[in-house]
Symmetry: C2
Subunit: 450 residues, 2 copies
């Protein structure tokens, strides 16, 4: 049994939904379908969920919302017209929205229900369409499916008992279409997952039904081994482990929402990235373990936007608690640190620039000076991190040699090397202006035949 | 003006003291001499200070001490006899000890005074000897010299006002011989520095008189660029910076007590390591800055006895405070950590094995599991650290390449690479069993002409 989830771009309009229908009919094992709300049809377009949020905020601040509702309805009308479906579903959407507004729930809960309307409606539209072309498919509301969550609007947590209930879906013969992004509390309140939550639904459902495979249909053929904006036509990754995926997505590969995969990961369900627009392509499969590969490196990720805080003090390593006090200062400011390469008398803290705007930086530096009395402290705002990732990393002699050689060939100075904790990656810090040359050189070293 | 300090082995017996006298007379600038207590004359010998401690402990626990005192006196008698000096100084030593015992000070202060007897007596013997061979030399007690310290027996801290008083030594014509290791509180109590404190005295005096050079006479020609037990006849280091010295001494090069150099460092006094037994050898000079060298690497230090605690948890980097809580657990157990290479979902804490005996390790692991709920935690007790050190490190492209290549050539797997915080070193972690091969390969790479 396979669970197939279709993301926003895959269900953005009628043309896409036709592809979705073909994909479902192509494989009898695709029995459980999870869908997002319609995404962008073209790059300047607005996602349906954003339109809904906009409408909801207008209503809740006592401003006119009717024309915003109309825009949403038109998005669905476009689809139902082209797919020659009845307009019943459009009326349902309108009624549903008005019922939500009229209900006596809190504003928070009303907002969650409004946000979920896009997924819910698209699921109804899709199942209507599948029926119209003769497939045995039904819409299934998350409450009926068994997606029970905590009472935390906007950041639902799945309750353990859901998984047993979801397993019962295996007993059904027909194809079920479940809207992603939301679940219900035991007492019937609609609660959404955090943004990007259709991925979470898909993962939860795949874990619940103990799927053989969870297919995540998106708009790329596969995960590439390097950013295709830096290296043209890079190699595709056939398979990667969860650990490798985490390391790569850390520094730039964001195929989907990180936390979304946890349920599938825990239940050991393989995940496959597929392209709705090219479903025949193999895609990239994500597994918990894989056989050792000839090439120990699976990918190279890179990201700019890192900052380094450098602190030095003679005999720093004799001061018990120095490192901990330094981290506490950052924690007080809500800054999660990324890494802390340290020397004998010095330490650098690597943080994401977005976590430390100028005024926070000033406070942090002032506290460091006042509380720790360092010899020097300075901030370097110009840092990029490059991760060389692969399960073969920890047992392959000479990988660090090759990687550092690639940087030397590109004449790039290494500001930082951090390797050893992770068994699947090596991390390098360089000046942000040199990222492209460095990545190309690494690609050449690890992915091109000599 | 030069300050020359002579360590234990340099003043162990009459033969050594003759060499000391020659060294002093060889250079008119050597006006201020600091001495240790007589050290070992041969490898199974006992240092005079240890004999004194032994004697002091016997007395303070009401046990017979007289024969222990006799042994101490004989050590000095041996010297005075061979150097044909009067035995007055022996009587002085005996009287001094008995006066200390009879005084109404605390046991703690009595012990400090006993401990200091070795340096104090040797300074008197040396100045008597210098006078006997016609040199214009005097013994100078630290109180007269101006070495004023805090009232903290066994771990004196120099008071700032000492420096101005010490500066007055420049006005003297004669050579002054000052015993190392102790000073006096403003109200006249004798307080010792921590062990190895003659180095501290020398450094303080050199800073106080604003010496042109502080010569530290010991029993090696120079600091070598690598452990001579691993590489035979290694290159000698001509000059190193304070930073480089700190990095090297971290992982094995311990020519002298680290903290000892702080006063000289702060006053920007160059320090020269010299060999009493071969004073013509250039020695190694330690400075605060030096010109860029053709070889950016100055030395390779290595040390076994490190332990790594590895902790991993999916989405660890999202948990604000995870790293800080981990460090707090170690701090509660009094374990100072050395380094924390971290990945995305994992972190390793490198500590010295001596800081974490088995029962502490068990407590730490138990707390980590209980408080942090990691996916995995394990300890690797087999780790060695190798530091490649040199001021040229941070601006030389390709150094990491060469270093990692040296490891690959020796077929040594790199467990850890930590570079970036320190601007003068790169740190590598490997299995302790491979240290010698790795160090030889690095030596070959960085110090042998091709």
């Amino acid at each position: 049994m396979k669970v197939a989830k279709f993301g926003g771009s895959s269900v953005a309009n009628a043309e896409q939904l036709r592809k979705v229908a073909n994909i479902i009919s192509d494989d009898k094992e695709r029995k459980v379908i999870v869908v997002s709300a319609p995404g962008k049809r073209f790059s300047e377009d607005i996602k349906v969920t954003d339109l809904l949020i906009n409408m909801g905020e207008a209503y809740l601040s006592d401003q006119p919302y009717e024309d915003k509702l109309e825009i949403v309805l038109n998005r669905f009308k476009e689809i139902t017209t082209e797919l020659e479906l009845s307009t019943d579903v459009i009326d349902e959407i309108k009624l549903g929205v008005e019922r939500i507004f009229a209900s006596d729930q809190s504003d928070e809960l009303k907002m969650d229900a409004i946000k979920a309307t896009g997924e819910d409606s698209l699921a109804k539209v899709l199942s209507a369409y599948l029926q119209s072309i003769g497939m045995d498919a039904v819409y299934l509301n998350p409450k009926e499916a068994g997606i029970f969550v905590s009472d935390t609007p906007g950041s639902a947590q799945i309750l353990d008992e859901s998984y047993d209930k979801l397993y019962e879906l295996r007993n059904r013969n027909e194809i079920v279409v479940i809207p992603g992004f939301f679940g219900y509390t035991k007492d019937g309140k609609l609660i959404t997952f955090s943004r990007g939550g259709s991925d979470i639904t898909g993962s939860i459902v795949a874990a619940g039904v103990k799927a053989d495979l969870y297919e995540n249909f998106t708009d790329v053929d596969s995960v590439y081994c390097v950013n295709p904006n830096i290296v043209k036509n890079p190699r595709e990754i056939t398979s990667l482990t969860y650990k490798e995926m985490r390391e790569l997505s850390y520094a730039g590969f964001s195929v989907f929402h990180d936390e979304a995969l946890i349920p599938a990961f825990k239940a050991d369900i393989p995940v496959c990235i597929k392209n709705t627009n090219n479903p025949q392509a193999m895609g990239t499969i994500i597994v918990s373990k894989k056989e050792p590969q000839p090439n120990p490196v699976v990918g190279i990720a890179s990201d700019t936007g890192f900052v380094s805080i450098y602190v030095s003090k003679y005999l720093m390593n004799r001061e018990l608690g120095f490192g901990r006090k330094l981290l506490t200062i950052l924690e007080d400011e809500g800054i999660s640190f990324e890494h802390t390469p340290s020397g004998i008398d010095d330490i650098s803290i690597i943080v994401r620039a977005s976590k430390m705007p100028k005024e926070k930086e000033e406070r942090v530096i002032a506290r460091i000076k006042e509380e720790l009395h360092p010899d020097t402290v300075h901030v370097d705002r110009d840092l990029a991190l490059i991760m060389v990732v692969g399960e073969g990393m920890d047992s392959t002699i000479g990988l660090a040699d090759k990687a550092t050689h690639a940087f030397a060939k590109a004449n790039v100075n290494l500001e930082m090397i951090n390797q050893g904790s992770s068994e699947v990656s090596m991390m390098f810090g360089i000046k942000a202006s040199r990222v492209e040359e460095a990545v190309r050189s690494l690609y050449d070293m690890f992915f091109c035949d000599k």
